[in-house]
Amino acid sequence: MLTVLLGRSLVAFLATSQIGIEGGDLNEFVQGFVKAFQLIITLDPQVVDITWRTLAIALSSCIISTVLCLPLGSLIHFRRFPGKRILINIVQTFYSIPTVVVGLLVFILFSRIGPFGVFNLMFTPTIMVIGQVILVSPIVLGLVISALSGVDKGLFETASSLGASRVQAVFQVIREARYAILSAVTMGFGRAISEVGLALMVGGNIRGFTRVITTAISLETSKGDVELSIALGAILIFMALLVNIVLNRLQQK
């Protein structure tokens, strides 16, 4: 409550302090910021709704890709097989796959006439999660493999020599790489939350259903409603900052 009050008085101050500024455009720009700040401080229902949905979708896809990629990455790291290096190179190539290409793929697969069309998932949060899982998994998988490779090779053997079974030794190595694995997941989250092409193509930006921060910004800006865009953009940047702080902390460990 105190925060809201403080915020309101700050808004009032900002509103009155624009007297000295000349020129219509600049005025509008400043007003945009003031309004955006107001939207955030007053916990505007639309802003909260979009932010909440963005977080839920990005977190879900992040958790799902971690659940898939951690065992898969361990399997690739601990097993020796022909073509392992090439496979890792391919996975790394997909780090920078354009989001619209993943959007196109998901669209082809899940549109009415596609092989998974029967599930009728187009333009739902579920399809957005599926798309983001495809988008984020190469990053999480590649970085999990790098994280495991970063653990001293002798550690597996140390565990074995101390009586660990193969599975126990594998878990010990994963445990040893925990910070690097967490930073892989954080990177994946950062990619998921900031992408726009995929969300727009398969989510459809339906208000109150599939609208997320990035799609909302793109729509509102084109409509000329910069206040909401600025507010959402600020939230997104704040989240990116948070992700970065977490990432930095993890990498220092």
């Binding site: 001293d152 053997e157 074995s160 101390l162 009586g163 660990a164 126990q168």
Partner: protein, 358 residues
């Protein structure tokens, strides 16, 4: 029955033979040292004994069971042994958990884990470090944690690979104290690889000399150091005077060996005409300024060519037809006023010479 027995063990890495026909028998509660220069194959042999790698050929028996047989549960066998690597790696967790993890892997009860971990911490004197992140420890402390971790589960065999290599003298003596305590208080069989001969001599009941992947000699420390089996072992165990010559005369077992035209008298069973090496430890030789009358069979005059101080001792090289290295105390060197170029007499007994075939 030996606790560990290897039969004709060979190991290859990329076609390079690193172990050649290793046959060893290690008894229960024995302290066995593997000595040899770096790269001799000590670590490889220990890794094979600890079932961390399979030999290229040959058989390994543990407690009478052929553990090279694929039907044997190797994990069960490995859990009866522990291995402290040369550069031990600790897990990124506190000291207590590092020691407890081996017990947890064996699914012991939590009360037992607590008791055994605390005992192990106490044994190596690291109780006050138990909450420290193990990654922040010094080399010597890490080594002590590694030893505690290896001993916590009460293994029947403890493998130690160069336990004090890369440690400063203070840490080394702490580790050696811990080892002495383990040997005194526990009945663990210890197999220890070291390139430090004196360490092997101090701890081991028996020593195996491993060079270029081959076990060249096995025996008590006394045997190895006083009667090295061949020139390589002699050089490795620090016999500085190895003189090549031919036996030219024999009277019972007293032989006369021609070394560069000078004759050394020694005790040997080899016959006339045999090419031999005469091994003389530098501390067995005395120096004097005049030719004293003594019972020693060998006295040679020569000139001092080099003098190196060695703490309380001095190493002196004398050229007397062949180079002879002598170690005497600094005080004696001062009393005799020894300087480079001075003529001296080097004297040693026939029984101080160990003769091996060339």
């Amino acid at each position: 029955m030996a606790l560990i027995e290897t039969v004709n063990i060979f190991q290859n890495y990329d076609g390079r033979e690193v172990l050649k026909n290793v046959n060893l028998k290690i008894d229960r509660a024995e302290i066995f040292a593997l000595i040899g220069p770096t790269g001799a194959g000590k670590t490889t042999l220990i890794r094979i004994l600890d079932l961390l790698e399979a030999p290229y050929s040959g058989r390994l028996f543990f407690d009478g069971v052929d553990v090279t047989n694929p039907g044997v549960d190797q994990l069960e066998v490995r859990r009866r042994m522990s291995y402290v690597q040369q550069r031990p790696l600790v897990f990124t967790m506190n000291v207590y958990d590092n020691i407890a993890c081996g017990l947890r892997w064996r699914h012991m009860k939590s009360a037992t884990i607590k008791r055994k971990t605390e005992e192990a911490l106490e044994l190596v004197g690291m109780t006050s470090y138990k909450d420290r992140n193990a990654r922040t420890l010094s080399g010597g402390e890490t080594q002590r944690v590694a030893i505690a971790r290896a001993l916590a589960a009460g293994p029947e065999v403890l493998f130690l690979d160069e336990p004090t290599a890369n440690l400063d003298p203070v840490s080394t003596s702490k580790i050696e104290e811990v080892l002495t305590r383990i040997i005194r208080e526990q009945k663990t069989t210890i197999v220890m690889a070291t390139h430090d001969m004196s360490q092997g001599q101090r701890f081991a009941g028996r020593i195996g000399v491993l060079m270029n992947g081959e076990v060249l000699q096995i025996g008590s420390p006394g045997d190895i150091f006083s009667s090295p089996g061949n020139r390589e072992v002699a050089e490795f165990v620090g016999v500085d005077n190895i003189l090549s010559g031919v036996i030219v005369d024999k009277d019972n077992s007293l032989v006369s060996i021609d070394v560069n035209g000078r004759f050394i008298q020694a005790i040997s069973d080899y016959g006339v005409g045999e090419k031999v090496n005469a091994l003389i430890r530098p501390e067995e030789i005395t120096l004097s300024l005049s030719q004293d009358i003594s019972s020693a069979r060998n006295t040679f005059n020569g000139r001092i060519t080099r003098i190196f101080p060695l703490g309380p001792l001095v190493r002196i090289e004398v050229a007397c037809g062949f180079p002879l290295l002598v170690v005497i105390t600094k005080r004696s060197a001062e009393d005799l006023n020894l300087t480079i170029g001075k003529e001296v007499y080097a004297t040693f007994k026939a029984t101080a010479i160990h003769i091996i075939r060339s």
